[in-house]
Amino acid sequence: MLLFLEQCLNGLQFGLLLFLLAAGLTLVFGIMDLVNLAHGSLYMMGAYFAATFTAWTDSFVAGALLALLATLLLGMILEVVALRPLYGRDHLDHVLGTFGLILFFNELVRIVWGPAGLSLPLPTGLIYPVELLPGLFYPTYRIVIIVVALVVALFLYVLVMHTRLGMLIRAGASNREMTGALGININLLYTLVFGLGAALAGLAGLMQAPILTVQIGMGENILILAFVVIIIGGIGSIRGAFIAAVLVGLIDTVGRAFLPDLLRLVLSSRGASTVAPAMSSMMIYLLMAIVLVLRPEGLFPASGK
């Protein structure tokens, strides 16, 4: 029972990290109708900035905050310089353009930081586990990730539902032409939204960095999962991204945890270890395929009809 709870916490943590990445992606896709493959690169830049600033300031928190600011600025600059020409064009043009950005960022990182990657050590206070329930130990840092991600989710909810900016965002996601026709400064809105998305991606990258390495191309694998999440959740919908991300995180983790043991009943141990991760990945894509067939606009679509 405790094992199951612990695996669920693992899944929740992974899902929430995925949510941070997917939230930015869904906002950009929903409001600006921009397929942004470079989102994974912003995730990577967030991690690299955090590693560098933490080394400079000797403080994890200061380094993280500076990295967030840097990624926000980077996102806004990127939007103005590289992405404005892409608006209104075919999605394939977006794919081509932002794919070029991926290559650009990978090479930039190689030139500035070298090919070997960096590491981001945790502050000593966060290294040891905390006892949540008697006998249930869980790493403190992962709890921090869960808490921060939930706080950000709450902040996004308040932003989108209860502020003017949020109202503009929802309007833009529902009907872009109308919003522009009403005299809203669409350019500024787009820049802000993109910056917000970039900051979220950077946050995901820098929070993941102490657990995994900081290396070139680290955003590419998780970006694919983020796209799956926004398709399942509904493009433009943050609530959908949240629920889908947690779902995907739980399926992936619980699948990896319990499938091998289930498969060992019928396969050899080595065979089970090879097949199980493949099967749990397959289940995620299967879920996406089912959603596309039964409810193509996603589980919680943004434009309510």
């Binding site: 405790l2 094992l3 612990e6 695996q7 693992n10 943590q13 992974f14 090919p115 070997a116 990657g117 590491s119 050590p121 945790l122 290294i127 040891y128 586990p129 130990f137 869980y138 790493p139 403190t140 840092y141 992962r142 102490p210 657990i211 995994l212 390495t213 290396q215 070139i216 694998n221 983790t253 990896r256 945890a257 091998p260 141990s269 080595r270 270890s273 090879t274 991760p277």
Partner: protein, 390 residues
């Protein structure tokens, strides 16, 4: 006039021909020089360069040329680079190979071209057995040997149950098989994690906690070793369940693992403080040049350079005498930094394995230290499946 010109050109060409005897010894070095495991490739390259410096950058009077190629930790890239080295650069020796899967993919093209292949790290069981080749030599070990030694040590410590973890590729499977071969206790769980992209072990560590074993054995080379140890400590398991390792803690990972690695033992055929003259010189010169100590990857590369040198010197630079080259290499007649060793019929070393521990030295710095010899003259268990006899 034209004939005179032609004649002069022919004479000059003839005059140039003897200078071709100064044709260099060409060595191709394949390792990983990008990504998080580049630190290993750099250690190997640094050590290989120091070995060449110690040899005066000449072997049997001929200059040595090395072409370094990056396999990016991918078998398909490794094969491309191997083919480039043998077909385009026409090297006499191919040295290197950190990863067993990269080595297995490149083995056939290289040995089919009758070029000598010296593995300075990877030692998959297939090459020790059915796929053994007269053109392949190892200056490292066979993958199963090191974990077998660790299994012996776990027996000596009276460990009753163990949970095994490793990455799901050729070497990972070899390692876990190796421990099972010698460990006399009960294996209560085994997990093979996806390689090389799975760096988050939370799921598997939760299973370890639930299984409540006496000990955990892991094999996670390079960056994965850093991540594993960090997460092992974060999950609180480090104080509760002793950890036994192979290839997870070494001089390349210790600077990142820091105090987390204190007191975690590993088995190895070479430790930086082995008391022989060649090793002292190697470690001292490496430290002087690079301000840090070499790892076992580097030590094995240093040995590879000297093994090649012993053969080139024996044939006096005439590398077409491949049989003579092979016979000399079989004698392992050079000053290895691990001490003297012999070759088995499959061209894998028969050597001692030591227990290494992580301690704080007098200056408060973390260092790896030899504690004891676990096993002497260990030979891999696949040599019977190799049909070579000599």
């Amino acid at each position: 006039m034209k004939q005179l010109l032609m004649g002069t050109v022919a004479l000059v060409a003839l005059g140039v021909a003897p200078a071709a005897a100064q044709q260099p010894v060409k060595i191709g070095f394949i390792s990983t020089f990008s990504g998080p495991t580049a630190v290993i490739g750099n250690d190997m390259r640094n050590s290989f360069e120091i070995a060449l410096d110690h040899l005066g950058r000449k072997m049997a009077g001929k200059p040595v040329e090395v072409v370094y190629e990056d396999d990016q930790q991918k078998p398909e890239v490794g094969v491309q680079k191997s083919q480039k080295l043998i077909e385009s650069d026409k090297v006499d020796f191919v040295v290197g190979f950190i990863w067993s899967n990269v080595l297995l993919a490149s083995l056939k093209p290289i040995v089919d071209s009758q070029t000598f292949l010296i593995s300075a790290n990877a030692g998959p069981s297939q090459i020790a057995g059915e796929q053994c080749s007269p053109f392949f030599f190892s200056t490292s070990w066979q993958n199963d040997q090191t974990p077998q030694a660790m299994g012996e040590y776990m027996n000596q410590k009276g460990v009753k149950t163990a949970f095994l973890m490793g990455p799901n590729y050729a070497a990972g499977k070899d390692m876990l098989t190796g421990v099972r071969f010698t460990f006399k206790g009960q294996v209560v769980g085994e997990e093979l994690t996806r390689w090389p992209d799975q760096l988050d072990f939370s799921t598997e560590l939760s299973k370890v906690r639930a299984a409540k074993p006496d000990s955990v054995f892991v094999f996670y080379p390079g960056a994965a070793g850093v991540q594993f140890l960090t997460q092992y400590v974060q999950s609180g398991l480090k104080g509760q369940i002793p950890l036994y390792t192979a290839f997870t803690i070494d001089e390349t990972t210790l600077p990142l693992q820091k105090d987390l690695a204190l007191g975690v033992p590993g088995a190895q055929e070479w430790v930086n403080d082995l008391p022989n003259e060649a090793n002292r010189k190697f470690v001292a010169d490496y430290r002087a040049k690079h301000q840090k100590g070499p790892s076992f990857y580097g030590a094995q590369s240093y040995d590879a350079a000297n093994l090649v040198n012993s053969a080139v010197v024996a044939v006096n630079g005439d590398l077409n005498k491949k049989d003579a080259v092979r016979d000399t290499m079989r004698k392992a007649d050079y000053a290895s930094v691990r001490g003297p060793y012999k070759y088995g019929n499959n061209h894998f070393p028969i050597q001692n394995f030591y227990l290494q521990d992580v301690v704080k030295d007098a200056g408060g710095n973390l260092a790896l230290k030899t504690v004891t010899t676990i096993v002497k003259d260990s030979q891999d268990k696949f040599h019977d499946r190799c049909t070579m006899k000599w």
